[in-house]
Symmetry: C2
Subunit: 239 residues, 2 copies
């Protein structure tokens, strides 16, 4: 299936006088709803996890990531409203999966919070990059703006690596934690893919051309897992 259908045609369908591509539009609203709820939830959880910080300055570093997520959320929310979609309605299908992800991965301490912030930021960035290739230019530009690195994740790397140097046993525990994070993320992603067929099809470039290409979807998850493995290495952890 792939992205052979001509996305310029789809962009044209956004024009008032174009033939509306209903399936594509529904999939884009789904995608933006997922991004918006993912971002406001990330804001909320990063702000909450900031309370685990040992110093106010560390707290501020995680809070800064939360604030960047909120800025992304407002971009996507305003875009949804701009194309005539109700943001609350668009987000609703993704509330359960994202809430459950965060409930199952509440950090027990500051270091777990840092690993989650860094790993979560990385997975989100990978996801934005993956989806961007299958979008019309207008939606793609939005996704890439929201992807723009929060630029604050490096402090997490420094803190985690220092902690492992001081107490090497911490590395084993955090490596397990990283595996749990990615496992829960993939589990909820599979759930969303099953429940939202049009969205899943969009992610691999096949919306409106006969359903989801499961092989291509599997490849996307594999690429994201590989990138996660590299990030764990950057933290000084085995994946």
């Amino acid at each position: 299936m792939g992205a052979a259908l001509g996305y310029a045609d789809r962009m044209a369908s956004w024009e008032p006088d174009g033939e509306p591509d209903v399936a594509y539009r529904a999939a884009v609203v789904d995608l933006l709803g997922l991004l918006a709820y993912g971002e406001i939830t990330a804001f909320e959880r990063l702000a909450a996890d900031a309370r685990l910080a040992p110093t106010v300055m560390d707290k501020a570093s995680l809070a800064q990531m939360a604030v960047a997520e909120f800025a992304h959320f407002t971009l996507v929310r305003d875009h949804l409203a701009g194309i005539g979609a109700d943001p609350d309605v668009a987000m609703a299908p993704f509330v359960a999966a994202l809430d459950e992800f965060h409930e199952r991965t509440a950090p027990a301490d500051w270091l777990e919070g840092l690993v989650k912030a860094y790993v979560g930021d990385g997975i989100a960035t990978d996801f934005y990059r993956e989806i961007a290739t299958h979008l019309d230019p207008q939606t793609r530009e939005l996704a890439l703006s929201a992807m723009t690195d929060t630029g604050h994740a490096q402090f997490a790397v420094d803190r985690v690596r220092t902690a492992i140097e001081v107490t090497p046993s911490v590395g084993g525990r955090l490596a397990l934690w990283g595996r749990r994070l990615v496992g829960e993320a993939l589990s909820q992603a599979q759930r969303v893919a099953v429940e939202r067929d049009a969205l899943a099809a969009l992610l691999v470039g096949g919306v409106g051309v006969g359903g989801v290409d499961l092989v291509e979807l599997g490849r996307m998850f594999t690429r994201m897992t590989e990138a996660h493995t590299r990030r764990m290495g950057t933290l000084g952890l085995s994946a």
Copy 2:
């Protein structure tokens, strides 16, 4: 005592070749430490209280106030660092009072969260305005920038007034809540005034001139309580 001492002289004392006004500088560092910790804590609590919101859009409105507080925090933190003060050290004396205030005033539901956000925002703005009169121009400008209305409190007024129209009995409960908020705030403010004499003196314009003018300090608290009473009226609540 009052502000008769000539604040231009004090500003001059910030110049490298000026005679350092040690007491004034210590009081300003105290004040900025108080503001900084107040702002990062407000960020944290508003973000947490946003979880009580009935819709994601309501959540976003409170989150927007949190983000504005964080922006104020970064201004003050960077100013502290710029004048050679360690922000963590400057904030430390105020952690207990502000944490205790928030622990004693954790909202039980969304409406209590809204009243707290609106009342808290108002008290902070009053406080910034009160202190600005007694500061050197550089510090005053900072306080006024951080005071700049978060501009997002109006939604709280709308929501609370609507809730009272729908269920008038809510008004009595929220009026009690408002009294508790201002009572706890004054109690912690008194504690800070007792523990940090130089800061208290600065607030009423008497630093370095023989200790705190308790009558003037009392007047300041009275003015702030009066303003609180007016705000409760704006919410449709008896104070």
